[in-house]
Structures are given as structure tokens and as C-alpha cells.
């Protein structure tokens, strides 16, 4: 990073001369708020949000109205509540079960992964034990190992020990987050001073006590970041549950929606109504994650900057 820094600092010689151009510079910036640039980014925003708007509009329609009315505006009757009710009641309320499964898998996986990554990242950052560099290098190298290439061998291993078709088949593989560990190591390096640990030792605190009582608090933004990103990874996972589970009662919402979708594509008649449910279910399954990101944005954005800078 530092190598890219150009040497243009000379003009800022004295305080008085530096102050004048700075205030002028700020005023100039405010004046120049560019409408053209705003328009360009607005076009980008439309691209990213219009499909979601379509999804929302579509979830207010019956299957018939999906075909008969224009996609980007509401039909005459708004059937959102009816769709939501039917989504949750179809097939003995299996959709609600899928949502709960997803919630359970992702919260347990993300919590576990963030805990292991925080503990490990702190250990790698703050203790110069033998093999530190080698082990960390091993973990770092594994970031490039594609998780889906691991999924099939993991499935075969799990089927040998009877873990297939249990919640563990989803949770256990999701507990490893090499990138999370990497992020937490960087974060712990900067956020926790060695003096703090030393002071804790002088006070007679054990290493674990120092970690839980002193260090953990400073690591919070990093932890939230890792937590959220592993949460998304598990929430959005499709490949792993697809191969690990064949009991519909254990499906997460991604696999469940995909099965509904293929049923609705497969035949007309009774399955025709399913299309509206797939659309409504899709819309509903987005809401928790979007809410989590918006509510916790202060934490994950500051946590991410640590990883982005040194990455």
C-alpha cells in the first residue's frame, strides 16, 4: 500500500498556508456535487433494485395476474396477504419450517464460525508460538480451495459416519471460515495493544480471562463482520444442503424454493398456483438478511475496512 503513495506532500509546508486552500477546497467540493455523476449512479441503482421491485410487485399477484398484467406495476387486486398466507399454509406449512431451518442452520453456523475465527485470529495475531507462520500460511492458502469441490467428498465421508440427512451435515462444514480467520487476525492485530494483554498478565489474569474480559470488546466490529458474512454464506448456501439432505422437513428455504419452482415448471393444473407461492416465498426469504444488514451496517462497514485495506 505504502509503495503506491505518491510524494506530493511538499505544498503542505506551513499551517497557515495549508488551512486556506483546504477550506476553499471543501467549498469547491460542495459546489461541484455533480448531477451527471448522480444520474449515472442512479441508473446503476435502478439496475440493482428494479428486479427486487419486480419481485415485490409479483408477490402481490395471483398466478393468473402474473401472466395477464404488466410485470412492473400492480394488478387491480393486491393479493399479497393472501399469497403470504397460502405460502405459509401450503403443504402443511412446510415453508415456515424451511425458514426456521435456514435460521437455525445459519445462526448456529455463523455463531460457531465467528467464535472459532475470533479465537483463532486473536491467537495467531497475539502469540508468537512455534509454527505460527506455517499454520497461518496453510489456512490462508486454503481460502482458494473451492468449497463446492469439497462438498462431494464431504458428503461421502458423512454418509460413512451417518451424518447425512441431519442438521450437522449443514452446520459442521460451515464452521470453517478461513477468510474469517484471516480477517480477525488482521483486526486483532490493530485493535488490541500488546500493552493491554501485558497489563492483564501483571494483574494476574489468565490468558483466556484476558481474551474474554479485555480483548473481546475491542474485537466487536470484526466479529459482527465475520458473523454477518458467514450468516449470508450459510443462508444462501444451496449446493451443500442439496446434496446432504433428502428429507424435505430438513430443507433450508433455498432448497425448498428450488423444489417448488421445479414442480411449478413441471406441470400445469394444480401446480399452477405454486408459481405465485414461489414468487412470494422468494420475496419473504430475502427480508431477514436485508434487515440484518441494514440494522448492523455501522458494525460491518467498519469491520470490513480492516480486511479491505490490507487484503
Amino acid at each position: 500500500m505504502t509503495s503506491a503513495t505518491p510524494t506530493t506532500r511538499q505544498p503542505l509546508a506551513g499551517d497557515t498556508t495549508a488551512l486556506a486552500p483546504r477550506t476553499r477546497h471543501h467549498r469547491k467540493l460542495a459546489d461541484r456535487r455533480s448531477n451527471l455523476l448522480t444520474l449515472g449512479i442512479l441508473a446503476m441503482l435502478v439496475y440493482f433494485l428494479l428486479p427486487l421491485f419486480w419481485l415485490f410487485v409479483a408477490s402481490t399477484k395471483t398466478t393468473g395476474e402474473l401472466f395477464s398484467s404488466f410485470g412492473l406495476w400492480f394488478a387491480d387486486d393486491v393479493s399479497l396477504l393472501r399469497n403470504v398466507r397460502e405460502t405459509f399454509s401450503y403443504d402443511d406449512g412446510v415453508f415456515g419450517r424451511w425458514l426456521l431451518n435456514t435460521l437455525f442452520y445459519s445462526v448456529v453456523s455463523a455463531g460457531g464460525a465467528a467464535f472459532l475465527a475470533t479465537l483463532g485470529g486473536y491467537g495467531f495475531a497475539k502469540y508468537r508460538f512455534r509454527g505460527n507462520g506455517l499454520l497461518f500460511g496453510l489456512v490462508l492458502g486454503s481460502i482458494m480451495v473451492p468449497t463446492t469441490a469439497l462438498a462431494i467428498p464431504t458428503y461421502l465421508l458423512f454418509s460413512k459416519v451417518g451424518l447425512v440427512n441431519t442438521p450437522w451435515a449443514i452446520i459442521l462444514p460451515s464452521l470453517v471460515s478461513p477468510f474469517g480467520l484471516y480477517l480477525m487476525r488482521i483486526y486483532a492485530q490493530d485493535a488490541i495493544h500488546d500493552d493491554l494483554i501485558e497489563a492483564g498478565r501483571i494483574d494476574g489474569a489468565g490468558e483466556l480471562r484476558i481474551f474474554f474480559k479485555l480483548a473481546l470488546r475491542s474485537l466487536a466490529p470484526g466479529i459482527v463482520t465475520v458473523l454477518l458474512f458467514t450468516l449470508v454464506a450459510t443462508w444462501n448456501n444451496y449446493f451443500l444442503p442439496l446434496i446432504m439432505l433428502n428429507n424435505p422437513n430438513l430443507y433450508p428455504v433455498t432448497v425448498g424454493l428450488a423444489t417448488w419452482s421445479s414442480q411449478s415448471a413441471g406441470g400445469g393444473g394444480s401446480t399452477g398456483e405454486l408459481l405465485a407461492l414461489v414468487v412470494t416465498g422468494s420475496m419473504l426469504s430475502l427480508l431477514p438478511l436485508i434487515a440484518a444488514f441494514l440494522l448492523l451496517q455501522r458494525y460491518w462497514q467498519s469491520g470490513l475496512s480492516a480486511g479491505g485495506v490490507k487484503g
Binding site: 410485470g71 472459532l116 482458494m144 490468558e207 480486511g307 485495506v309
Partner: protein
């Protein structure tokens, strides 16, 4: 480590020095306490499956005689496998086209939002990021409907205008349609990483550049983009991994375009259908393992290519 206390209190004898060093090492070794839980799960869930895949790939199932050792037969078969090769070529093409577009859009968005020239920059930042929180399954189903000839808005507009609907799901368009879905999903994520890195560039650099008369464009080009190198590299590596293991999007578009997306459209789809449809577990393990090798090699190629350029 803070050793100044021993220096101040007494002249450091060899014994005291060794004691301090021993104590330090003892403290340092407590580090194992923290890293062991992660490493255990790491070994069990990442290293072990990898070794198991390598092991399985050395065997072959036969109708008579069961599973027999086959040496590298599966790999010679894989190298000659036309379906696998075309799949790898397809995702490589996908990577070469989709990733530069996605990263360029993400970079532009991050620079624009960071420039201070935008109104409502926070709305833009979050709005562009939102698709990342959309599961790939939902994103693909949604775009599948949007692309569709029945009630997709593109087809509806085309019908109003009296022209042919765009054939997003045809063989010629499919890779582009997939690229669009992936771009839609991940631009925001890359934008946020780049934006976070931009926020960490020391602000006096910008002021110095402004004093030197550099405009916004010049500042972006000469200061911001060079400072973003490490973050861009991170995005690039993640994109290599993502592109080569493309699975969810083609798998979910398969029912709406069964003639376009066959069971070997991407290498991952191929490995999946080998393991679960044709029950060729050993060959599937070899394909998975090879795919992993391809991704690691591609990642290192990217690392070395960009590393060499920065040195010269």
C-alpha cells in the same frame, strides 16, 4: 513484547534473560489454546475431505470385482474428457468476460460514492449492496422469470412494441444471461470491499493532490486506484474462485432451458451429476479434485501476473 522492566531494575544476567525468554515462550505457547479449536475443525472439514477426494480419485468401480486401484486412470480419463474440457473452457470464458465488467462497475461505483460529488451517497451504497443479501437461488429464480417469454417484463414490452422477445435463455445468450445474474449478485459486495479500502486512504493525500491542482478524475486515477490494488486483488481472487465453481445459477436455470444447459455445462454441475446421477463416485472425486487444482492454479496465476506488473 515488553522486556524493559528487567532492563531497568537490574543488570540483565544470563539467567534472568533466559528466565524472561522462557516466560515469554510460555506465554507465546498459550496461543495454541486459541488456535487449536479452529485448526481441529479446519483439519476435519477441509483438509480431510481434500485428502479423501484425492484418495477416492485413485480407484475405480467395476461391475465385476468391486472397487479396484486404478492409479491415475481417472485423471487421464478426465484430461481426455471432452465434456469436462468444454465445461472448463466455458467457465474460463465466463471469468474472462464477466469479472472485468463486474469489477469495473464496482470500482466506478466505489469511486463515485467516495468522491463526495454525489447526493444521497449512502442510499446508493446500500442500494447497490442489497443484492448481495439475496440468496443465489432467489436471484436466479427471479432473473429466470424476468428473462422468461411468458410473463417477463422484457417479453411483455417486446410484445407491446410488436417485436420478437429477446431470447435470453437461448444457447447463444445463456452465458451472457448467467453473467448478468452473477454481476447483479456480486457487484455490491465488491463495491463495499473497494469502498472500505478507499475510506482508509489517508485524507491528507487528497488534500495535497488538490493543492497541486489535481481534479477529481486525476485524484481517482493517480491516488485512489493505486491505493486500491490490494483490495482489487482480493476481489479478483474471490472472483476466480466464484466463477470456476459456478453451480447454483446454471442448475436453477436448467429446468427452464433444458436443451441449453446440459449436465456438464459447468465442471461443478458435471461433478454433481457424475456423483449423484451416474453414480461414478470415484471419477467425480477426480473431477472435483482437478477443479480445485485448476482454481488454485488460476488464483496463483492471477497473483503472479499482477505481482510482476507492480514490480516492473
Amino acid at each position: 513484547m515488553n522486556t524493559s522492566t528487567t532492563i531497568h531494575t537490574a543488570p540483565p544476567t544470563v539467567a534472568a534473560h533466559r528466565r524472561a525468554k522462557g516466560k515469554r515462550q510460555r506465554h507465546a505457547n498459550r496461543g495454541y489454546l486459541f488456535v487449536t479449536p479452529f485448526l481441529i475443525v479446519f483439519l476435519a472439514m477441509l483438509v480431510l475431505p481434500l485428502i479423501y477426494a484425492a484418495y477416492l480419485s485413485l480407484f475405480r468401480e467395476q461391475l465385476i470385482g468391486g472397487t479396484v486401484f486404478a492409479g491415475l486412470d481417472n485423471y487421464t480419463r478426465a484430461f481426455a474428457d471432452e465434456r469436462l474440457r468444454s465445461g472448463v473452457a466455458r467457465v474460463a470464458l465466463f471469468f474472462v468476460i464477466q469479472v472485468p465488467i463486474m469489477l469495473a462497475v464496482a470500482l466506478c461505483a466505489a469511486l463515485a460514492i467516495d468522491s463526495g460529488l454525489l447526493r444521497l451517497s449512502k442510499v446508493f451504497r446500500l442500494g447497490i449492496f442489497v443484492p448481495y443479501a439475496v440468496p443465489a437461488v432467489v436471484a436466479t429464480l427471479m432473473w429466470g422469470y424476468l428473462y422468461g417469454p411468458d410473463f417477463g417484463p422484457f417479453a411483455q414490452v417486446a410484445e407491446k412494441l410488436g417485436t420478437d422477445p429477446p431470447r435470453f435463455l437461448s444457447a447463444d445468450w445463456m452465458l451472457g444471461s448467467l453473467a448478468n445474474i452473477v454481476t447483479w449478485e456480486f457487484t455490491g459486495y465488491n463495491m463495499i470491499i473497494l469502498y472500505a479500502a478507499l475510506r482508509a486512504v489517508p485524507h491528507d493525500l487528497y488534500e495535497a493532490a488538490a493543492v497541486d491542482g489535481a481534479g477529481s478524475w486525476r485524484t481517482a486515477w493517480s491516488i485512489k486506484i493505486p491505493a486500491l490494488r490490494p483490495a482489487l486483488l482480493l476481489c479478483l481472487i474471490f472472483s476466480v474462485i466464484g466463477s470456476f465453481q459456478l453451480f447454483t445459477e446454471p442448475k436453477l436455470l436448467q429446468p427452464v432451458a433444458p436443451n441449453v444447459i446440459d449436465s456438464a455445462y459447468t465442471p461443478n454441475l458435471y461433478a454433481y451429476s457424475l456423483a449423484f446421477t451416474s453414480q461414478e463416485v470415484n471419477y467425480s472425486a477426480a473431477v472435483s479434485f482437478l477443479l480445485g487444482v485448476v482454481i488454485v492454479v488460476a488464483s496463483y496465476t492471477v497473483l503472479f501476473a499482477t505481482g510482476r506488473r507492480s514490480r516492473s
